[in-house]
Symmetry: C2
Subunit: 285 residues, 2 copies
């Protein structure tokens, strides 16, 4: 009943570890991930640390690049250009949020599409829409679909409701669900009769950043609930779902923490390995 | 009550004509659109002809390139490359469908993103998802939104149902509607209780290619209906909507022909002029 994202992600990491060890034997090389972090944001540091720890577990070479938060946009783009041309780096990640003097769009555009393992670039999002698995699917949406796939449900004819329409979760995950044949509804904060819409959902994906927003009365008995929220309240972490009450009526639910979060990191590493394999296929010996 | 796409598109073309005449005076240049057509498909020829006629009306230089339907993929890509490098051409369109020996994806990828006025490339679709109006929005979705915009409705809190999930209509138009704040549901042929879902829609966009599929009993009184279907039955053209019966209960409806169809061509020309202006801004004198 509980969808164990932590366990699932550990299995993925273990499989990646085996693959990478084989690649290393064959080619003498391992995938490389560069993580750029600006300044001293405590939450960012925690996220980066867990990404680097996951790299270590799998054998991916990680390179943490800590830059001054006052760095100019041009200098940051120069750093990215260097990584674009660095043969030991297959994936480049710029930890968000960025300071306000830096244009996030420009930074995203500076990263080579071949190394955009976050899947934030327009070309990779467009490939999601097209159902073209040649690109990099952004990590959280990919992790969500991976967990849903574990349930072996045929999504054709299923009602899926996505709450939240961000560029990094709501919109791309909706695209993936549409491609899987689900009748997909995307809601936002101004949706009318949200509770009524949710009550008809076979699957709910919620990513709005409001602690315990989704209550038991909004959920159909036997539904699947995927909780993408990470909300810190009085030092504790809550999802967007009122987990304690909702868990009793659903068929499956992701906990927070230990649900979607670890899957996001696993998919980041999966994308990095994919980038490595594509590069080796094209330019390897 | 009838959304007159023909009239609306003619106004757009007239405005483009004025703009182009001004550009010509200033720069001595006019936008250019190349249309590649393979073989002798009668329907394709009709579509191309109306595109070229619209170019003539506005002052866009059009170049029709008729190729043998047995042309190899490589030769076709060479033709596209030539147009990519041709300074007099701002937009490149390859009329679909293509013969089965030609890979549509490869052909689409061969067109420069700067000249992808059809808006079919992944990067342009991704920009739709991101709400980045820097790219080219595919023509039919853009035309649909243009018509909806004429109604001056605030889409926040509105229920919009898109029936059909194609790459050229359903998915991109859903993305545009999500960005406008609509609660957006994408349905397909296996959606359960489609009639019930449609009955709650404030706006219906239908693009499934089934003549007169949408009947009066599926539509809420006062709803807006956008009919994207073009179905030939016994020599007559029908939309996806049972227009004669539905028109009496809706607030607004597009006819077929004369609704979305002419808007698609107008948006193609609008995209071509946009491509021209961007090019002039970067490389003009």
């Amino acid at each position: 009943m509980i969808i164990d994202g932590k366990k699932c992600s550990e299995e993925i990491l273990e499989n990646l570890r085996k693959d990478i060890s084989e690649y290393k034997e064959k080619t003498g090389k391992v995938p490389g991930l560069a993580v750029i972090i600006l300044g001293n944001n405590a939450a960012s540091k925690i996220y980066v640390k867990s990404k680097i720890r996951a790299c270590e577990k799998t054998g991916i070479l990680s390179r943490e690049i800590i830059l001054d938060e006052n760095i100019s946009e041009e200098e940051l783009i120069n750093e990215i250009e260097k990584l674009n041309n660095d043969k030991n780096i297959n994936g480049i990640l710029v930890q968000l949020p960025l300071p306000s003097h830096i244009n996030e769009k420009k930074i995203c555009e500076a990263i080579s599409v071949k190394k955009d393992v976050d899947g934030f670039k327009a070309e990779n999002l467009g490939k999601i829409m097209l159902g073209d698995d040649d690109g990099f699917i952004s990590c959280t949406p990919q992790g969500i679909i991976y967990l849903i796939d574990q349930l072996n449900m045929d999504l054709h004819g299923k009602n899926v409701v996505v709450v939240g329409r961000s560029n990094i979760v709501g919109k791309p995950v909706a695209s993936l669900l549409i491609n899987k044949g689900a009748t997909t509804t995307v809601c936002n904060s101004r949706t009318k009769d949200l509770a009524g819409i949710l009550k008809k959902a076979d699957i709910i994906v919620i990513a709005i950043g409001k602690a315990k927003f989704l209550t038991k009365d909004m959920v159909k008995e036997g539904a699947v609930v995927i909780d993408v929220g990470i909300n810190r309240v009085d030092g504790k972490i809550y999802g967007d779902v009122d987990y304690e009450n909702v868990k009793d009526i659903v068929s499956h639910i992701t906990p927070v923490p230990g649900g979607v979060g670890p899957m996001t990191i696993a998919m980041l590493l999966k994308n990095t390995v994919k980038a490595f394999c594509k590069e080796e296929l094209v330019n390897g010996n």
